[in-house]
């Protein structure tokens, strides 16, 4: 190692980073070269002088520590409040979802089905009269019952088995004058639910769960009439 390299590498020696073969060569050069030895010794003394001077300086750090801890506590509080609020919201959303697993999706699906098949009269394989008997029985009610679960002024016109949202159900259409009303009915044991109503793009939907059946009525008429039909059906079932 020559004098130039020793001067270049000196910072590594002073910081204690130099090791192994390099350190051996560096030290060997200092033993042979009094100029480099004096230079490194001077640098060492300078470092010691700076260190001794600045380390003796009083550094009043308390105020910063207090300020930082205050801000830390405030941000931790905000974070905790945010986490609690998020948890409450998550529980509320989950609760609503658990309590009403298919509401209003089932109602919206029923409304869409009514619009396509009854209002827009897209071709479907409807059953009339005696043909209705078999499909009504399949859904757990007799044709007579199906005809009389609504007030007397509504006439059972036709029906069919349909599948909405993956559930097979009986779709009955009642007539009152020129108006048509859809009643969707399927076996839904164990679950009771008082009347719920939902409005979807011109259709009114009302639903009731009786403990044995879920009933949904879709009309284009007034909400009160729709609700009355659903409640009437639920009472009769």
């Amino acid at each position: 190692m020559n004098c130039g390299e020793v001067r270049r590498r000196a910072p590594l020696y002073l910081s204690g980073e130099m090791e192994g073969e390099e350190l051996r060569l560096f030290s060997a050069h200092l033993e042979e070269c009094s100029a480099c030895a004096a230079e490194i010794a001077d640098q060492w003394r300078l470092d010691e002088r700076i260190r001794a001077t600045l380390e003796a300086e009083l550094v009043p750090v308390d105020r910063i520590e207090r300020a930082v801890r205050r801000r830390m506590a405030a941000s931790a509080r905000r974070w905790r409040l945010g986490a609690i609020a998020a948890a409450v919201l998550a529980v509320a959303v989950l609760g609503l979802w658990l309590l009403q697993p298919d509401f209003p999706q089932a109602y919206a699906d029923a409304a869409r089905d009514h619009r396509l098949e009854v209002v827009e009269q897209q071709p479907r394989h409807w059953r009339y009269g005696p043909e209705l008997e078999a499909i009504a029985a399949e859904s757990g009610i007799s044709l007579t019952r199906a005809a009389t679960i609504v007030p007397v002024e509504y006439l059972l016109e036709r029906g069919k088995i349909c599948r909405i949202g993956g559930v097979r159900m009986l779709h009955l259409v009642y007539a009152r004058g020129s108006r048509r009303y859809s009643l969707y009915l399927y076996s839904h044991p164990g679950s009771r639910q008082a009347l719920r109503s939902f409005h979807s793009d011109g259709e009114q939907v009302s639903g009731v769960e009786t403990g044995r059946f879920r009933v949904m009525v879709v009309t284009e008429g007034a909400a009160a009439e729709c609700a009355e039909l659903a409640q009437s059906a639920a009472r009769q079932l």
């Binding site: 001067r7 270049r8 590498r9 000196a10 910072p11 590594l12 002073l14 910081s15 204690g16 980073e17 001077d42 640098q43 300078l46 470092d47 002088r49 700076i50 260190r51 001794a52 001077t53 600045l54 380390e55 003796a56 300086e57 009083l58 550094v59 009043p60 750090v61 105020r63 910063i64 520590e65 300020a67 930082v68 801890r69 801000r71 830390m72 506590a73 941000s75 931790a76």
Partner: protein, 169 residues
Amino acid sequence: MARREEAFERTAMVHARDLLRFARRLTRDAAEAEDLVQESLLRAWRGFEQFEPGTNARAWLFRILLNVLYASHRKERPSVTLLAAASDLPSAGSSAAEYVEVTDALDRLGAEPRAMLLLAVLEGFTCREIAEIAGVPIGTVMSRLSRAREAMREMLSTPARPAGERVAR
């Protein structure tokens, strides 16, 4: 105290004094140094999740401090604004005249060589750590340290000015 706060106390807050000592010499302004350290610690607190436990926390903190300083785009100020209160002067082990002479020489270095010299000599970082903190190659650190030491020795070999001159307002 929450676990995150405890961990931050152990990891970062224990270095507050070193950070402030470095910042005071770097900025040459006691109030600016306090702002700088406070902002650096709060930034470290906010980004504490990114810190990998077991790695060099001190180097991480000094790197944040330099980043905050550079981001603030503050111009160098005249060297006469610093630390004039009697309570700031050394308590023991170093005379007031010696203190003024050494700090005056340091203040006359450029900001970058001064930062590197302080990191190496006062804070005891290795050249490799300084390269990481300052974001420059290790060869650059070594050459700047050599030049800073040379400049300091030149300044300190000339007779010191009277102690009162620099601290007087």
